[in-house]
Symmetry: C2
Amino acid sequence: MQTIPSDFAGWMQAHQARVEAALDRALPGADIAPQRLHEAMRYAVLGGGKRIRPLLAYAAGEATDAPADRVDRIGAAVELIHVYSLVHDDLPCMDNDVLRRGKPTVHVQYDDATALLVGDSLQSLAFGVLAGAPVGDSAVLVDMVGRLATAAGSRGMAGGQAVDLASLGKQLSVPELEFMHVHKTGALIRASVLLGAQCGSALDAARMESLDRYAKCIGLAFQVVDDVLDATASTATLGKTAGKDADDNKPTYVSVLGVEAARKFAGQLLDDALTALDKVAGQGGRLAQLGRFIVTREF
Amino acid sequence: MQTIPSDFAGWMQAHQARVEAALDRALPGADIAPQRLHEAMRYAVLGGGKRIRPLLAYAAGEATDAPADRVDRIGAAVELIHVYSLVHDDLPCMDNDVLRRGKPTVHVQYDDATALLVGDSLQSLAFGVLAGAPVGDSAVLVDMVGRLATAAGSRGMAGGQAVDLASLGKQLSVPELEFMHVHKTGALIRASVLLGAQCGSALDAARMESLDRYAKCIGLAFQVVDDVLDATASTATLGKTAGKDADDNKPTYVSVLGVEAARKFAGQLLDDALTALDKVAGQGGRLAQLGRFIVTREF
């Protein structure tokens, strides 16, 4: 049973509520034309998910003394990119999944074309929301736009997804698997941390590098744990179809290392992440708690 | 037979070559992992298309005395958004088309999942390329990112596409048709003009509004002419399947007004665009030529 310090549980809830409100503000109302598209976008985004990426952005913002209201749009932007990727990944031509966050996937609830346009529109919205963030220094904001674009694109998340598709039915080596996950999941998680940190006072190069090291380790650990949970948890707990990786003959850390070694690897990554965090400053407390939560989570 | 002034033809060729080079630089090499995705992105983008949107950006840049090298990334960004929309629109769950720019569409040449990821990656790349534009004033650049995001998203191009899908088999009124096209095609064309203009010296509010009026009229005229060409030109001339709108029972300016009235409407829109342009300044010469080209084009 996972134990979460009560102050941290309260912090998570408060910041999940913050980003939910930011997402609600960012999404066009379902009364605005084209209504069905806007309704489907809201269906995809609101009222579900752990909001791990926004939480990482808020926690990194705290590490550089950024007020939370400066991070709200950053959290919303990274979550919009994440949700767009889920909507497209669930399409029949990709993973063909019917359940997500405990609800029918967008293409099941609406139709394939609408799901395609929902994903496309959420990606545009992410960059629009980011461009409106009250970061203060426009040059920093431009840098953040470039960072998010790289993390989302063919050299980041979408590229990892392409490798994932190409690897179905194949056995991958550990380095190949790491390449896939560092891109598919890691890139956006890393961007979430760095964008959050960029909302506050500038870090020197060494501290920024340590923060990046933390983010890389946590990003990979997140995916290793995801692989373990897919093999060990129930559909009801996950809110998405469990055991799907094995059914799809998809190489994972579990199929390559086995459950126990995968768990151990996630633990090592957490240790590395926490070691890197020690060098950032005294303010990394939430990032450490969040890292432990990500690795020990049960859903 | 369309007559193009020879100096204008030379200008078009030179600037088509400029944006082709900018796109080539922006796209990851096909030797970079994931190779197949990058190869497919290059297949989708390079070596085809009239590059109308980049040309509008260059012409608007000339109207505000922006050097062409400051507009290169703007032209590339709007073209990347346009190409991503074509790749997704051609998918089986949307228009299900097999020919584009005289070549098999991306999902035919590769597969549906790759086409989906190509479109997703091109959209990310567009924002990344824009964020790297040498515009000088970061606050202006941030404004441009927001403008492009709005033009591409659910209240712009993607929203128009949703209306288009919902209207299959229906008869639309002229205002409904205009709503669809102002979004589906008009929003990105308008953004191309305004982003190009923002690369140079700032226009006062009245001139910016006149330029926007030009862009709106040309954007709508572009789509009216597209509807006419779909009904009157050959597949070989268009490089895409002709007569598809009627086959798909899609409402167009031709199905609603008839070919002759649609042509006349495009001519009126051109007149309105040129009248608006008179108020911008003395530098709108290329925009006027380009407007005439868009309305009298035969492919």
